[in-house]
Amino acid sequence: MRIYADNAATTRVSKSAVNAMLPYFEEIYGNPSSLNTTGQIAAEALGKLRCEIAELINAKPQEIYFTSGGSEADNQAIITAAKTGEKKGKKHIISTKFEHHAVLHTLNKLEKEGFEITLIDVNENGVVKAEDVEKAIREDTALVTVMFANNEIGTVQPIAEIGEICRNKGVIFHTDAVQAAGHIAIDVEALKVDMLSVSAHKFHGPKGVGFLYCRKGIYLRNLIEGGAQERGKRAGTENLPGIAGMTAAMKEAVEKIDENAKKLIPLRNRLIEGLEKIPHSRVNGDKEKRLPGNVNICFEGIEGESLLLLLDEKGIEASSGSACTSGSLDPSHVLLSIGLPHDVAHGSLRLTISEENTVEEMDYIISSVTEVVDYLRQISPVWEELQKGTREYIL
């Protein structure tokens, strides 16, 4: 038995997405930039797909720019807002401490170029306060970028509130919606977001494709120069099979958003309740304001990578924010941002389930994790010290 519980990393491509892609390999294979009939058939299909994607987030088709995925969309959005601001002498950007690296590393680069970056603290439940964003906004603020939902702990941020604040203050607002799209309803008008990044493979679409929503009136800057694709804003022949797969997957996900949440939330809560029974553990992130499929929990006295490997042996596929899984000495910046000490952040486990999972699988995960945590604690000198009282429990 293999239980896939790493859907925040990537998802299985849905049947409807695969079927939607197939015609684009052998039938509609033309280049949308070509004037010949085959090319024009492809161009027409591309236009139709763009309309369909736009409708799913209540945007206009000309506000959708297809990209290679979420990271590219994040980069382009941030660079665009920075360059736009710079022209007006605005060189201050606001974000949060627990953004995805696609955002944080782009901001690091801008900081080296002379931009001032304010990273807002996240509270211990993993939620950003809209009022903190408001307080941080200055005359020279060029951009506010706050993720829609966190990729590790799944907490959902007050996007509508932040959108309202930014709109009133006349500041561009971008949100990295890579984890949220297809799982939480998105209406760019109601949320008052100016730019929004999406990646297809997080909602059963194919890898290597995503899009950036950029509100009409914002002058988008290129990351990739070349041909006039995407109205001159993103060169390179369009990945039509990928775009078709993404559109089909997103349509299906958005149509089933409530149905999936109704199925997932009880599964997620069952998992949380079962795992919380393990002594000296802690669930990371707000239990209510979180993605329907996200569970993130720390176990004191053990290290995450060995936990993952032993769970994999039992057929359970998960992930961790431990340093060993990241290849650095520091554990996940997300876990540190919500105030977890290094000691326990190393012992984190992320399980991200999908609507394909079952109650039986949740129970199997609970019993397996309980067993593996107990075993690893038996061979851990840290656990030994905690038990003997020579080290103090944190959790």
Partner: protein
């Protein structure tokens, strides 16, 4: 796969796990902040390591490295145990990924720390510069082996 079969074997079925009551030497190295702690217990008779046990908090390669290191020094003389290098542990494990080499360094140092404890307890003179202080986050002495 990230790890060799040998690493996975020693990780899943670690040898010499546990504690030794009234051990003659106990060494602990690493730092919980960095995510690795190794503790090695030695039973020594006539300069020979007659028994060795370990406990490790850490990743798969840290557990496998400690298991392998204990196997390699069991039944050996103290001098032989002090000769155990992290490279020998890596070779015995059929290799470690480059960013996991520090786990083998930790195993080498844990053995040395346990011997040092034995020396201290028995008032035996030794060259202090040949032993580590156990602070792996800040030591930086093994950078050359990391690449």
């Amino acid at each position: 796969m990230l790890y060799s079969e040998k690493v996975m074997d020693h990780f899943k079925n670690p040898r010499n796990v546990g504690e030794i009551e009234n051990a003659d030497g106990v060494g602990e190295v690493g730092n919980v902040k960095c995510g690795d702690i190794m503790k090695i217990y030695l039973k020594i008779e006539n300069n020979i390591i007659v028994d060795v046990k370990f406990k490790t908090f850490g990743c798969g390669s840290a557990i496998a490295s400690s298991s392998m290191a204990t196997e390699m020094i069991k039944g050996k003389s103290i001098d032989d145990a002090l000769e155990l290098s992290n490279k020998a542990v890596v070779e015995a494990l059929d290799g470690l990924p480059s960013h996991k080499i520090h786990c083998s360094v930790l195993a080498e140092e844990a053995v040395k720390a346990a011997v040092r404890d034995y020396y201290d307890k028995n008032g035996i003179e030794y060259d202090k510069t040949k032993f580590c202080d156990g602070d792996c986050c800040h030591c930086g002495k093994h950078q050359d082996v990391e690449e």
